[in-house]
């Protein structure tokens, strides 16, 4: 995989690849800036992203040991307050276990480096490893949509690989891993996916094939998607001559926010230079 030197894969990058090979190439390999709008209405989307970002910070604060009363004082938005009130009954019991907010993970599949950032990793007394992901979008994805997401396959896989470094005495095994999506707007409907040895084998093969496929694209070329609807929500629309106006999005794309988190965490070095 010589092409991927200096390049770490993440769920976001692979999700982009699956949606459109060309987008993956433009965005991550060529790193081509193209500042057109992705979707409208911008201000509303921005506001929701801002709220999502704030919510993630509040959750991180809670799991970093800051008293909930101190955290709650900062909330000055009614939606955020509602999310927070929904969250506490779910979150507080989790603090009784070993917990690691914003947990960063690296691993290798088929000799290519991968990274992931979990919103929360919990290790129970029974040695269950549970990955939590907070979803703040208005619309809840269906269980089958969630199951198909790259995130649902990649996160448990990387945890299974890296498990021995987290608990040397009792490393994470695929059967002891769970992935839980919790929704701020649907607090009583979390979606849980139990991982397994069998699924681990399937996923390893799946990602290996995907990586091989990507590797070949360097020779055969990265194709534009055939699904033109995707171009409506892609900033490279004009670059690819796939239209001019951005699509109207009914729900804020959760991926935008995920992308921001990944960029923030993976860029690593402090932003402001004096």
């Amino acid at each position: 995989m010589k092409h991927f030197l200096n390049f770490s894969f993440s769920q976001m990058k692979l999700q982009d690849y699956i949606e459109c090979e060309r987008r993956f190439e433009l965005k991550y390999i060529l790193q081509q800036a193209w500042p057109a709008l992705r979707s409208e209405p911008v201000i509303l989307i921005e506001k929701q992203m801002q709220l999502g970002k704030q919510f993630h910070l509040l959750a991180q604060q809670l799991f970093s040991g800051i008293p909930e009363s101190d955290i709650a004082q900062q909330i000055d938005d009614i939606n955020l307050l509602e999310w927070w009130q929904n969250f506490l009954p779910f979150a507080l019991p989790l603090t009784k276990n070993d917990h690691y907010p914003e947990y960063k993970l690296s691993g290798r599949i088929n000799n290519s480096p991968f990274i992931a950032v979990f919103d929360l990793l919990v290790i129970t007394k029974e040695n269950q490893f549970i990955i939590y992901d907070w979803k703040t979008s208005q619309k809840k994805q269906t269980r089958s949509e969630l199951k198909e997401k790259i995130q649902s396959r990649l996160y448990p896989l990387l945890l299974a690989q890296a498990g021995k470094y987290i608990r040397r005495d009792a490393p994470a095994q695929p059967d002891s891993i769970e992935m839980v999506y919790w929704f701020t707007n649907y607090p009583n409907e979390p979606e849980t996916f139990q991982y397994s040895e069998n699924q681990y084998e399937i996923d390893i093969e799946y990602f290996t094939n995907l990586l091989n496929e990507i590797s070949h694209k360097f020779e055969s070329g990265f194709e534009k998607t055939e699904n033109l609807r995707r171009c409506k929500f892609c900033q490279y629309r004009s670059y690819c001559e796939r239209g001019d106006q951005a699509g109207l999005s009914e729900a804020v794309n959760e991926e935008l926010w995920a992308e921001q988190i990944e960029n923030l965490d993976i860029m690593q070095i402090g932003e402001i230079e004096f």
Binding site: P35, A36, L37, V42, Q61, S106, E241, I272, E273
Partner: protein, 701 residues
């Protein structure tokens, strides 16, 4: 994978369970020892999540970033590379709820708003306006933006050095040794700094100085925060600690003894960032908390000739006698005089070409000057391109204001928003049309401007179809149609105007990059547009959260402030490694901060005083606002002279240590602006030449 020496491997082994203070000159293999340490930690099974690499500035982290990328995964974790300010921001964001109530902020319940250099300057400018009107700072004869940066600089120094910001003027005044009339300028700067700080407290705004102060005063002393950091990072690599500030050294003094292992790297004869608060004397304190002190003295790669060059130049700069110089000296030290500046650039390019023709990789050549202006860059680029050689260059930051693309975008924004009353000029529109309509040359753009620009009307552009057919033909039908398309887009947009950054993003995607328009496939334009949109968005989002000045139209405010030069829309250029196939041009100090070595260096314009003299800063003083300055002591001409001399010696030594094979010195009778310069570097070189070269070889010098 990199090869390490036995010594480096040994250091790495030791640092698994001990803390080591590793000092030595540049190019003795200290950073490579740190890479060996990372490799050893990885082999030992330590997770990347428990390792922090601390560097004084982003560029110094690149070598680690590259190495880590090559390693791929790090035992399931990710190694974090931090700077002091990065650390401060992360910690403030996370722990704000527990420290906010101890701080002097008026509304601790509200989350803080981080200011960057741009937004800090923007607010400070607003604070300054009434003071400017009262005649403040008239005596210093500086442009307002430079006044603003020096006031911010003072606040930053107070935080980085660790003294109360209220004492800035007292400290500066107590060291002032010239005409007493200047002292009131320090008081004026203090008054404005006080007012600005008060304003930040009132509105929860965190400029750089406050971020550092909060880290020092509230976060690090908090047990929760301290434990968070100490539990997470069990291993630390702290590279180039001599380029960092006393305040972060204070933190590391406490932190290092709590780690499982670590490596603190100290570059002797460095401390180049003094003007940014670097304190090598303070960094030496870290020795006392490390388990071992180790010094590397042998150059990692043999470079005997360059050692001689360094010693001879140092002797010449120090006014010492030059004794024997070995016969091979001339192989590594050459000089060239030209009467005129452009000729000097030509000579540089010819020499570079000679090296490249002899098989030297372009990336192994650096051209260094005290400052790199656009004109200099352009001339070097031109000359090198004649030989088919590419040039990569770096300036730490670049202003979007200087980009023609920015000018074009803002012209269209003004036309789309006539209610702002910012009428573009004929020239603005002509330039915008030339840059926007593909295939339109400036002559036809001028014609088009004359027929469609109607600055007296409510909307400033007219339809092309109302223009005579022969004029349309001269412009070309295709371009006329494209113009009309653009106009109609603007008219439709007018029905529902949006904020400036959103306007630009839409305009970029829906018009500028569509077929027939000139941003299509123009990657540079895309890059600049992207940076400009980011800058505006940052402004707008801050304004949405907090609007202390009650600004009604942030878009208009952004444009007027940018055009007034108050904010420079500076963007940090990426600190990636320069491309392998290009010669590298950079200011000398910037090159030092990249921690890289090249085979050949060209120092140009060595007669310039810029090699020796520090920037004139009448409202601040980096040596006085430092922990190493005794309050009450006077800063004399002698101090100034000695400091400049010491800095020049250090700069030359630092550069030569980063040069493996040869140094080329170039100078001209007349400088870039036609003046004659005979700075101390040139004088020292002349001294060497008189000793080493024949009269024939040094003619004209």
């Amino acid at each position: 994978m990199k090869q390490f020496s036995e010594m480096q491997e040994n250091i790495a082994e030791h640092a698994i369970a001990e803390t080591i203070f590793l000092s030595g000159n540049a190019a003795t293999g200290k950073t490579t020892a740190a890479l060996a340490y990372l490799k050893t930690l990885r082999a030992t099974g330590v997770s990347g999540n428990s390792i922090m690499i601390l560097v004084p500035q982003r560029s110094l982290g690149i070598v680690y970033q590259d190495f880590l990328a090559k390693l791929g995964d790090f035992n399931g974790g990710i190694v974090q590379i931090n700077t002091q300010s990065g650390l401060a921001q992360r910690m403030i964001r996370l722990f704000w709820p527990i420290i906010a109530y101890q701080t002097p902020f008026a509304n601790p319940r509200l989350s803080p708003l981080f200011l960057n250099l741009e937004t800090s300057q923007y607010y400070l400018d607003k604070i300054c306006q009434p003071f400017f009107e009262k005649g403040y700072f008239e005596s210093v004869h500086l442009e307002p933006p430079r006044i603003l940066t020096q006031i911010l600089d003072n606040l930053n120094k107070s935080a980085l050095v660790g003294f109360p910001y209220q004492e800035i003027s007292e400290r500066l005044k107590s060291a002032w040794n010239l005409a007493p009339g200047h002292m009131h300028a320090y008081d004026e700067a203090q008054e404005v700094a006080d007012e600005f700080r008060h304003f930040c407290y009132q509105h929860n705004l965190l400029d750089f100085s406050l971020q550092i102060e909060i880290l020092q005063k509230y976060l690090w002393p908090s047990l929760l925060c301290k434990q968070h950091l100490q539990n997470q990072f069990r291993y630390i690599i702290y590279d180039n600690c001599e380029e960092d500030t006393a305040s972060i050294h204070d933190i590391m003094l406490e932190w290092l003894p709590k780690t499982s292992g670590g490596l603190v790297i100290f570059d002797e004869d460095a401390g180049f960032r003094t003007f940014l608060g670097a304190d090598p004397i303070s960094a030496q304190r870290l020795k006392s908390v490390c388990n071992f002190v180790h010094t590397l003295s042998e150059p990692f790669l043999p470079r005997e000739n360059m050692e001689t060059v360094s010693n001879v130049l140092n002797a010449a700069l120090s006014g010492e006698r030059i004794n024997h110089i070995s016969g091979t000296f001339k192989h590594s030290f050459s000089h060239q005089y030209d009467d005129f500046y452009p000729k000097m650039i030509e000579s540089v390019a010819e020499k570079v070409n000679e090296l490249v023709s002899n098989g030297i990789k372009p990336a192994e050549i650096a051209i260094l000057a005290p400052y790199v202006s656009d004109a200099l860059r352009f001339q070097i680029q031109q000359q090198l391109s004649k030989h088919g050689i590419e040039l990569a260059f770096h300036r730490p930051s670049r202003s979007l204001r200087e980009e023609p693309v920015t000018h074009v975008l803002l012209t269209w924004a003004k036309i789309a928003h006539p209610e702002w009353g910012l009428i573009p000029t004929h020239f603005d529109l002509r330039q915008a049309l030339t840059y926007t309509l593909q295939g339109l040359d400036p002559i036809r753009a001028d014609l088009l401007t004359r027929v469609v620009f109607q600055s007296k009307k409510e909307f400033w552009l007219n339809k092309i179809f109302s223009v005579r057919m022969e004029v349309q033909e001269r412009i070309s039908h295709y371009i006329s149609e494209k113009y009309q398309e653009l106009l109609e887009w603007l008219i439709t947009y007018r029905e529902n105007p949006v904020d400036l950054d959103i306007f630009l993003a839409r305009f970029f995607g829906e018009i500028l990059t569509q077929p027939g328009f000139a941003f299509k496939d123009n990657f540079h334009a895309a890059e600049v547009t992207s940076k400009l949109i980011d800058s505006i968005q940052n402004f707008r989002q801050g304004w949405l959260q907090r609007n202390p000045l009650q600004i009604i139209n942030i878009s208009q405010e952004y444009i007027t402030t940018l055009e007034a030069g108050v904010i420079a829309a500076l963007y940090l250029q990426s600190w990636d490694k320069p491309p392998e196939n290009a010669v590298y041009l950079s200011p000398a100090y910037t090159f030092l901060m990249q921690n890289r070595t090249v085979q050949y260096q060209f120092w140009i314009d060595i007669g310039s005083l810029g090699w020796w003299q520090r920037l004139l800063q009448p409202l601040t003083q980096p040596y006085v606002l430092s922990r190493n300055w005794l309050p009450g002591q006077k800063w004399t001409d002698f101090n100034e002279y000695e400091t400049n001399q010491a800095n020049l010696r250090r700069l030359c030594a630092g550069l030569i240590k980063r040069c493996e094979s040869g140094l080329f010195l170039h100078y001209s009778g007349y400088n870039e602006s036609g003046g004659e310069d005979r700075g101390p570097l040139l004088k020292a070189v002349q001294k060497i030449l008189r000793f080493t070269f024949t009269d024939q070889e040094i003619k004209d010098v």
